[in-house]
């Protein structure tokens, strides 16, 4: 087909002449190059020579970590590259016509009606100032599907179809009155409003809780199946991709490294990068029995080291509490009630974030607290760290109530319990160099001379496997994983016995996450650390924890050892969480 006939066909938003939907792919990306222009002459490549095809009704997944070019590839299809992005080479054939050379109007005509988009973050993708119904109606009217009253009716149908209960009332509400999952349903309704032939789903659930994720993905799969819509699924989760897609495309640093039938790739990955992904994906870890065995070894080693340290401590002076106890932290009937502003002035509504939670952390082991957003798990962590005052209940560190400690004794407690927080972009002071960040706890406690402190910082960097040449660098120059390493080094600077990790690996790419988890395991064995590990991801729990507390709406609904919870969950909610781990049903080839 000549370029001219392609261009002519594109004008009418109909397939190019000679295009046969029964044989030809719906979307055919050939040797696509995309770059971001940084100056008049300089273009930084983001996608280099990507080729992939999507057939009508098929689901194809692009898998990759952040910066792999997966979203860029997808956005190039509907000409919605951010900022100064541009297609620098190759073809994007949709129904045979080249989108990358089409006129602006033709692309506008194609969006919505031929290709729909379900974007990544439901919080920022709806306009906060318009009612949800109006925003879907816009999609209907812009694509000539329906108008006026008819469109209003259709909006309600679409919302119902997307699985939103009480759709008629919901259509009249604003986005901020919706939860994340509900917003994502609205965005799905919007993406499918004009019945496109292809739906681009860009990490459609990564911002949502796992149980909601599963519901939404199930629903999306059902809908697109019924409607015969092809789906281009963009995700970082190999397990999720394999579960939902027929065909997988793995991207790494702007290039496609491997593609083929989903199961085949998962069972017989050939490219080293894909092999790495398969072996490290936490969602697939349920198949890796060795992880559990390794964990046992780590635990035994850690408990032993912790015992030795406790014995040493006992001889030292200035120790608060009884260090010989088996439980280093004991939490008893912890409750936190927040006072929220009500609808009327002066009116206060009690919100119980944490409701009567009790547990203990054994020396040298890891206890994980698992729950979805709003379950109160982070509030527990903040109370254990003595950063937040409990409404009632106590936190005992070596048998001493942390709230009763003041001044010097409180300082001593702080030395023995350190946090590592979730957001790698906010957990380090951007104005402090790596050296200053790690040295700060030492100088705050007046430990050592300047020289000794520097030696200590070098030692700590070595422990977290960072070269000492990062010392003069600033957080903005480091990746998320590297920042978390620095945060861990800072936490270890005071030689604590307990480290509290609040979603410490949640924001990281899969491989980096696996690396940090390994590091945490090693450090535990070497230093006899006890971890309180807060996470929303049950898959991660198996790799790091010994005991689990499952929290739901402020209550601890299930507490047991990891093995028990995974093999024999007693609560329905726990089972729901387990089921929601993507890729759990897939058999991995050995």
């Amino acid at each position: 087909m000549s370029t001219r006939s392609q261009a002519r066909a594109a004008k009418k938003n109909v397939p190019a002449p000679g295009y046969d939907p029964a044989v030809d792919p719906l979307l055919d990306i050939r040797d696509l190059h995309v770059g971001f222009r940084t100056s008049k002459t300089e273009v930084v490549p983001a996608v280099q020579g990507a080729s992939l095809t999507v057939y009508p009704g098929q689901t194809v997944a692009i898998v990759g970590e952040s910066g792999s070019g997966k979203s860029t590839t997808a956005h190039a299809v509907i000409d919605l590259l951010p900022g100064r992005g541009e297609v620098t080479g190759g073809q994007i054939l949709f129904e045979g016509r080249d989108v990358s050379k089409a006129r602006k109007d033709d692309i506008v005509a194609m969006r919505g009606s031929s290709v729909g988009l379900v974007p990544q973050d439901p919080m920022s993708n709806l306009n906060p100032l318009w009612k949800v119904g109006f925003q879907i109606k816009e999609a209907l009217e812009a694509n000539g599907v329906a108008k006026g009253k008819e469109a209003d009716r259709r909006v309600v149908e679409l919302l119902e179809e997307a699985g939103l209960p009480d759709a008629e009332r919901r259509a009249q509400q604003y986005p901020h009155e919706f939860s994340g999952g509900m917003r994502q349903r609205a965005l799905i309704a919007m993406g499918l409003a004009a019945r496109p032939k292809l739906l681009i789903a860009d990490e459609p659930t990564s911002a949502l809780d796992v149980t909601v994720q599963k519901q939404i993905l199930d629903h999306l799969e059902m809908l697109t199946g019924e409607l015969g819509v092809a789906v281009l699924l963009i995700t970082h989760d190999l397990g999720l991709a394999a579960e939902r897609a027929d065909h997988l495309v793995v991207m790494y640093k702007g290039k496609i490294v491997e593609s083929g039938p989903a199961l085949e790739i998962l069972q017989h990955p050939e490219h080293p990068y894909t092999q790495r992904l398969v072996s490290k994906a936490p969602s697939l870890a349920s198949q890796r029995l060795s992880a559990r065995k390794e964990r046992e070894e780590v635990k035994a080693h850690a408990v032993q080291t912790a015992g030795e340290i406790a014995a040493e401590l006992e001889q030292a002076e200035e120790v608060v509490g009884d260090v010989t106890r088996d439980d280093v932290i004991t939490v008893q009937n912890l409750t936190k009630v927040f006072k929220l502003r009500g609808k009327r002035p002066g009116q206060k509504i009690d919100f119980t974030a944490v409701d009567d939670v009790s547990f203990s952390l054994r020396r040298g082991t890891t206890t994980a607290i698992v729950g979805e957003s709003g379950s109160g798990k982070s509030t527990v962590a903040r109370m254990v760290l003595d950063l937040l005052e409990p409404t009632s209940g106590t936190v005992l560190f070596d048998g001493v109530d942390v709230r009763t400690l003041k001044g010097k004794e409180q300082l001593r407690l702080r030395r023995r319990m350190q946090p590592v927080f979730q957001n790698p972009y906010a957990s380090l002071d951007p104005l402090y160099s790596v050296y200053q960040s790690i040295e700060e706890p030492l100088s705050t406690h007046g430990i050592g001379s300047k020289k000794e402190r520097e030696a200590r910082v070098r030692d700590l960097l070595d422990k977290v496997s960072l070269p000492t040449s990062v010392m003069p660098r600033f957080p903005s120059e480091l990746s998320g994983g590297q920042r978390q390493r620095v945060a861990i080094a800072r936490a270890l600077a005071l030689q604590p016995e307990v480290v509290i990790c609040d979603e410490a690996v949640s924001a990281l790419d899969v491989l980096v996450q696996a690396q940090i988890l390994e590091l945490l395991n090693e450090l535990q064995a070497d230093l006899g650390l006890s971890y309180l590990f807060i996470t929303h991801d049950l898959a991660v729990v198996r790799q790091i924890a010994d005991d689990v507390i499952v929290m739901e709406k402020g209550k601890a609904v299930e507490q047991a050892s990891v093995d028990e919870v995974f093999s024999n969950p007693t609560q329905a909610y726990t089972r729901k969480l387990l089921d929601a781990i993507p890729g759990g049903s897939i058999e991995l080839g050995r």
Partner: protein, 308 residues
């Protein structure tokens, strides 16, 4: 909603009290004898002086004076000026022209600033954008009275399109040039604010989603860029009404407009304390009410704001 209005009204009370107190303190702690000024060179009869002092409450302690002023102000009685005329009368005469002038300036800066700012923001880096940026910078950098004189000279004296001065018999058409001059600086700020806001909004996720569902560029801009971009601009405009009333001091003196600015300026120069305090109090009131209005408008523009 009414809870919110009530609450906001209550919140304005300490602001008004505090502001009048400060002005009252400044003006009345000024040393010198206000009565002596009234009589100029003539010697003052002690009896008359005491009588006048009693009439203006000058014989009472400062706090009592302030409270008495407040008591009067609540009923709309700002007392008499030292020349014997009720201050309210002076204000009633001067206020309409100034509020007309300020509202006209507000309208001019709003329309021009938003239109020019939107076009500049949509075509960032283009010729229009650059021209507007330079214009706005020059407007901010040059003292406003220089513009006032130059425009008065060109349009009033040389071209004769408008009368160079306004005078006692003011009319809306005579106020167009002064209003333009008064609104000029704020126009530059509105332009810059709108431009930044539009440019920022263009790169938000929800605008991309709007494009992805097939909306034309015009619809995207109209429904998803403009309205979102106007929120900070509205906030600025609300605060600006008060600033325009005060800025009228300069404009009114250039164009000889018998407004509140002139009244305040002359009163300050002559030490006419009751007038000064009253005019400033009224300006504070205008500012406070304008910001209340903006808060309500804000909540109407942005449904996320709860009336709480």
């Amino acid at each position: 909603m009414w809870w919110y209005v009530g609450k906001r009204l209550l919140q304005t009370i300490p602001v008004i009290l505090g502001a009048t107190f400060i002005i009252y303190a400044l003006v009345f702690l000024r040393p010198g004898d206000p009565i002596a000024g009234l009589f100029g060179e003539k010697p003052v009869n002690e009896g008359v002086k005491a009588q006048i002092e009693a009439q203006y409450n000058l014989d009472k302690p400062f706090l009592v004076q302030w409270l008495l002023f407040l008591k009067g102000a609540v009923t709309g009685d700002f007392g008499n000026s030292y020349t014997g005329r009720p201050v309210m009368e002076l204000v009633q005469q001067a206020f309409p022209v100034t509020i007309t002038l300020a509202l006209m300036a507000l309208a001019i800066e709003m329309v021009l600033g938003i239109v020019a700012g939107t076009i500049a923001g949509l075509r960032r880096g283009g010729l229009f954008d650059s021209t507007m940026l330079v214009t706005s910078l020059v407007v901010i950098a040059v003292p406003i009275f220089v513009f006032g004189f130059v425009l008065q000279l060109i349009f009033g004296v040389k071209l004769g399109w408008v009368s160079p001065t306004v005078g006692g018999d003011w009319s809306v058409s005579k106020l167009i040039l002064p209003a333009f001059v008064l609104g000029l600086v704020s126009f530059a700020y509105v332009l810059r604010l709108t431009r930044t806001s539009v440019a920022e909004n263009l790169s938000t996720d929800h605008v991309r989603t709007a494009r992805a569902k097939g909306l034309s560029e015009r619809q995207v801009v109209k429904n998803h860029v403009l309205r979102n971009s106007l929120i900070p601009v509205v906030t600025f405009l609300g605060v600006d009404l008060g600033a325009l009333m005060a800025g009228a001091v300069v404009t009114e003196s250039i164009f000889n407009i018998p407004g509140v600015g002139n009244l305040a300026y002359n009163a300050i120069k002559r030490g006419e304390n009751p007038t000064v305090v009253s005019v400033v109090t009224i300006m504070v009131l205008v500012y406070v009410l304008a910001s209340l209005l903006v808060d309500l408008l804000y909540a109407w523009l942005d449904p996320r704001i709860r009336y709480a």
